[in-house]
């Protein structure tokens, strides 16, 4: 077995991989949420001076990237690779937003799990000596996602209480083999889990088994207990998916309730902000990580976290053809110190 592999799905990094800087830019609704003050920037309107939602989302990616690089006091020339993805068809928010960066680019798609997927790949690249500095970044935009996956914005329709609200925002981190910052220690790559849920308005329930599977596999592979972490945080399960995930893990004999939260639950005040079951989208876990979680880790209020971004691998076509929703979750351990 390859030297760094432990257990079925996990890689234990051997060299320090530091998240030396992070940034997040979010939309107005996210800015008014409970985590508003942790974000680097809050845009005033969702078009942000552009002529389409897609261009606005690209701009989110572009500006977040430049903030990440600037905060680490680096220039684009020092970045070896950008690993980025989003929800739009052919990942145009990432590729169009980063086309002027002049840096090697790897576009990836893992639906809303993309943030953890890009950190996982980036961390392995840095650990393996294939790169010194890698930027991992993802975005989503409420309006462009609604347009692609649901209905036009101005259509007067009602959502069921299990529906989630796509976060307008981008977030990311710069991983480096030098400098200081929280370290990436383990990468548990998820497998596709499909428990037969077909309701695209109940994505939390569809993704919860994938999240539970990855979290349990992470504990089994590494031998770590939930107590090793101050916080275990899933990407965008929302309030319904979060309680299902918590319950599924409990049924497997692990207790995480006292240290478990979900970015989709954290980012909105669900009662006040009409967000139904909570936030979703690549930008949900990305902005909460790049804004709130990274900030808390550098401050020292959080030491070790397990960041588990969750993705529903559906498309509008697969939903219309009556397919169930295959889901995935990737976990990365982010710790104050390496080892």
């Amino acid at each position: 077995m390859a030297g760094r592999r432990i257990g079925k799905q996990t890689v234990k990094l051997q060299n320090p991989v530091n998240a030396v800087s992070a940034a997040a830019i979010v939309g107005p609704k996210e800015g008014k949420g409970p985590l508003g003050r942790y974000f680097d920037m809050i845009i005033d309107d969702e078009l942000w001076g552009e002529t389409s939602w897609e261009k606005a989302e690209s701009k989110l990616t572009k500006e977040t990237f430049s903030k990440i690089v600037t905060k680490a006091r680096k220039s684009n020339n020092e970045i070896n690779c950008i690993i980025a993805g989003d929800l739009l068809n052919q990942c145009i928010a990432s590729s169009f937003g980063l086309r002027e960066a002049g840096v090697s680019f790897l576009g990836i798609y893992g639906a809303c799990s993309t943030m953890a997927q890009s950190i996982g790949i980036g961390a392995m690249m840095v650990d393996g000596g294939f790169a010194d500095n890698v930027v991992c970044i993802t975005s989503s935009h409420f309006c462009s996602a609604e347009k692609q996956f649901r209905f036009p914005l101005e259509l007067g329709s009602q959502r069921p209480p299990t529906a989630q609200w796509t976060v307008t925002g981008a977030g990311g981190v710069l991983l480096s083999n030098q400098g200081t910052g929280p370290c990436i220690t383990y990468v548990t790559t998820g497998k596709i889990v499909d428990m037969g849920i077909k309701d695209a308005n109940n994505m939390g329930a569809a993704m919860a088994p994938a999240a539970a599977d990855t979290i349990i596999t992470h504990f089994r592979d590494t031998g770590l207990a939930p107590e090793s972490y101050d916080l275990i945080v899933t990407g965008d399960l929302g309030i319904v998916g979060k309680s299902i995930c918590d319950d599924l893990i409990k049924r497997q004999g692990y207790y995480i309730s006292d240290r478990y939260n979900d970015c989709g639950v954290m980012i909105y005040d669900r009662e006040r902000q009409d967000a139904h079951a909570g936030g979703s989208g690549c930008g949900c876990s990305a902005s909460v990580l790049g804004g709130f979680l990274y900030g808390e880790m550098t401050k020292g209020s959080l030491n070790n976290i397990l960041f588990v971004a969750t993705g529903a691998l559906l498309s509008p076509t697969s939903t219309q053809q009556g397919e169930s929703i295959p889901c995935i979750a990737h976990a990365v351990s982010i710790g104050k110190t390496f080892g």
Binding site: W53, P152, L155, G156, T162, A205, D247
Partner: protein
């Protein structure tokens, strides 16, 4: 606690733990708002009749006014808020039909007037038109035969 193993078990479990829509509240809202829209329509209907227009003209002008209002308030970003509150109450009346055509037209304007507005305008109302027209043709044929 039992482990959930099969898809069937999981589906039943999810149904049990997922919150349901508030049926009574939504029905009352739909009734009030839908009724209110119909009252506005009736108001125009009576107004036109009082001005001495014949029944044929009145039943043509009234829907035209209501469709205009639906489109107008969609353009003002108000109809979607109404729809979020009222659900079927604002979807079922003819104003909702206008909303379902104007909203994609607005949304896809960024793809141009031909492939955007023109091609996507009926993306929601299309099925209503296809099956509405088909059924009325069918009804017309049946009426013609049994008349």
């Amino acid at each position: 606690m039992q482990n959930i193993l099969t898809k069937d078990e999981y589906r039943k479990y999810v149904e049990k733990v997922s919150p349901k829509s508030k049926l009574l509240r939504n029905t009352i809202r739909a009734f009030v708002v839908g009724g209110f829209i119909c009252i506005i329509g009736q108001m125009f209907n009576n107004l036109l009749k009082a001005r001495g227009y014949g029944p044929d003209i009145v039943s043509t002008i009234t829907p035209i006014i209501m469709v205009f209002l639906g489109a107008f308030f969609t353009g003002l970003n108000i109809y979607d808020e109404l729809g979020r509150f009222a659900g079927a109450g604002s979807i079922v009346p003819i104003t909702g039909f206008a909303n379902s055509i104007v909203s994609p037209a607005m949304e896809y304007k960024s793809e141009g007037y031909v492939l955007g507005v023109g091609a996507k305008m009926f993306v929601i109302a299309g099925p209503v038109l296809v099956y509405g027209i088909s059924v009325s043709v069918l009804a017309g044929i049946i009426y013609y035969i049994i008349k």
